[in-house]
Amino acid sequence: MREYSKINTAIFYIILICLCLMALGPIVLMLLTSLKLKVDIFNDVSTFIFMPTLKNYSSVLHDPSLMRYLGNSLYVGLISTALTLVMGCMAAYALVRFQFMGRDAVSLNTLLMRMIPPAVLTVPVFAIWNFQYHLGNNLHGLILVYVAINLPFVIWILQSFIQQVPIQLEEAARVDGANPFQVFFLIVLPVIKPGLAAAAIFTFRIAWNEFILALVLTNRATRTTPVHISLFLTEHNIDWGQIMAMGMLIAIPPIIFTFVASKQIITGMTAGAVKG
């Protein structure tokens, strides 16, 4: 191992901390702006010295329509995550244990589905959901799209976790008279909990953050929060304090996940690059 001099180490940590400030800067700026009155935002003097106020949050949270949209976002996020996980791990289990397709075929499919730009789905999803499935302007329609776009990735990531479950464990249960469903729910699921956590975070985050499909599939009653923000922004007189407060409200759940489960997130993010 090489030795590092003290100065070297100091420079090294200074660079690292500067990078952190750069990564955090815009987010902190959003937080600060959300705590400012209009006067302070337009005031030229300083970014950091001002009287913090929760007025923006209170006016945003007292708006019944925003509360409704937050509720919509939460509903869509939770239900689509639950459905994706249930369907995803059943499918992943079948693919691994019953050897349907080789792992290669699944990887290629996952990759192909992952590459589809959401904008490409807007036209067919809009037309099919409105005119054929009669799911237009309906939160369940949105849930259906999110389950579909998240499934390939979830199946793929859970597959690698299921492969690590020792088959002897399942065989022992089967000898004791468990049927395939019991084996799956009582033996396999508890073992792959970490994988499920990673998959849940990914799915929820995408459903919670997604914008363009929600924009074309919802109306005044069924909007999600990102759509609401974008429509709020097109007006000429932008109330930056309030809009940043809304931005914070959307950003908080992903930020919490990041701090709670950064390890799983990085695993999920790098998995795609390290092995095809």
């Binding site: 590459m115 490409v120 914008f211 990085i266 690059a273």
Partner: protein, 305 residues
């Protein structure tokens, strides 16, 4: 047959069915629908059944359309600029900062934050920072005695502005990946080079970069795919303007369908974008196959001795 054995046989299908049904109805069918719709002259407001078959009319029209040509160039410029700059910055930082780090988990957590928050929020924050009157960037420039820059309002600066925002958001991805790749390099090769007196630069150029190459290529291709998917950040920051200076293809698809109401044309446009991304994806898949085959061959060869 006994009921249990029937159940055992049916199990795999029962397990696959829910996911399979959802994927067929909510992903494969829409993509198929898209392909069919792209051959029809179809406008918003009339049912698809009334649309007139147009053959390759939509595609011919799009390829001749100067708006498409400009948007296409904007998209390509954006994707390549973003990937090249992020690779240089991310890999450069990883090479510079590669050493045992105390508290690396905390740093890594902070670095992934920009990728985790909603793209809509990223667009919002950057639009605020670029604001000509009270945006922090121009304020700082003025304080240091520079001219303020018309970031989002000038056609020359708008594209660089959105590129900068994307670099902020995604450089950490490349950084984290290349750091992981660096830390898993075989120590023996680096030791050998050091003992032979290779300088720091020679080690980087002749040993580290070549050994990291497989991961770097895949990371670049993944970023490239994602760069073609970008929509929200630009939608919020500039909505494609001024003029068409930041109108990437995703945005043009949305506008063609939901502003101009030309669904058939938007479908054709979607297919063109899909084809571009498909080609990159296939390149990536073939590359990883070749890479894995090579690794397997090398391992097999190594085991013989």
């Amino acid at each position: 047959m006994k009921p249990t054995s029937i159940m055992n046989r049916a199990t795999p299908y029962l397990f696959l069915a829910p996911a399979g049904i959802v994927l067929v109805f909510a992903l494969l069918y829409p993509i198929g629908y898209l392909t069919v719709a792209s051959f029809f002259d179809w406008r918003m407001g009339s049912p698809f059944a009334d649309a007139v078959f147009a053959g390759f009319g939509n595609y011919a029209w799009i390829l001749k359309d100067p708006n498409f040509q400009e948007s296409f160039m904007v998209t390509i410029t954006f994707a390549f600029a973003v990937v090249i700059l992020e690779m240089i910055l991310g890999v450069g930082l990883a090479l510079m900062l590669e050493r045992p780090i105390r508290g690396m988990t905390v740093f890594r957590t902070i670095f992934i934050l920009p990728m985790m928050i909603a793209p809509i929020v990223v667009g919002l924050v950057w639009r605020y920072m670029y604001n000509p009157q009270f945006g922090i960037i121009n304020k700082t420039l003025k304080k240091w005695g520079f001219e303020s820059i018309p970031w989002l309002s000038s056609p020359d600066w708008a594209l660089p502005s959105v590129i900068i925002a994307d670099i902020w958001q995604w450089t950490p991805f490349i950084f984290i990946l290349s750091l992981a790749a660096l830390q898993s390099l075989p120590r023996s090769a680096l030791e050998a080079a050091r003992i032979d007196g290779a300088s720091e630069w020679q080690q980087i150029y002749y040993i580290k970069i070549p050994l990291m190459m497989p991961v770097l290529v895949v990371a670049a291709l993944l970023r490239m795919i994602d760069a073609f998917k970008v929509l929200e950040v630009i939608f919020i920051m500039t909505n494609g303007g001024p003029g068409l200076s930041t109108e990437i293809l995703s945005l043009q698809i949305y506008k063609t369908a939901f502003v101009s109401w030309e669904l058939g044309r938007a479908a054709a446009l979607s297919n063109i974008l899909l084809a571009i991304v498909l080609v990159i994806t296939l390149i990536m898949f073939i590359y990883t196959k070749i890479r894995d085959a090579r690794i397997a061959r090398l391992q097999a060869a190594a085991e013989q001795y």
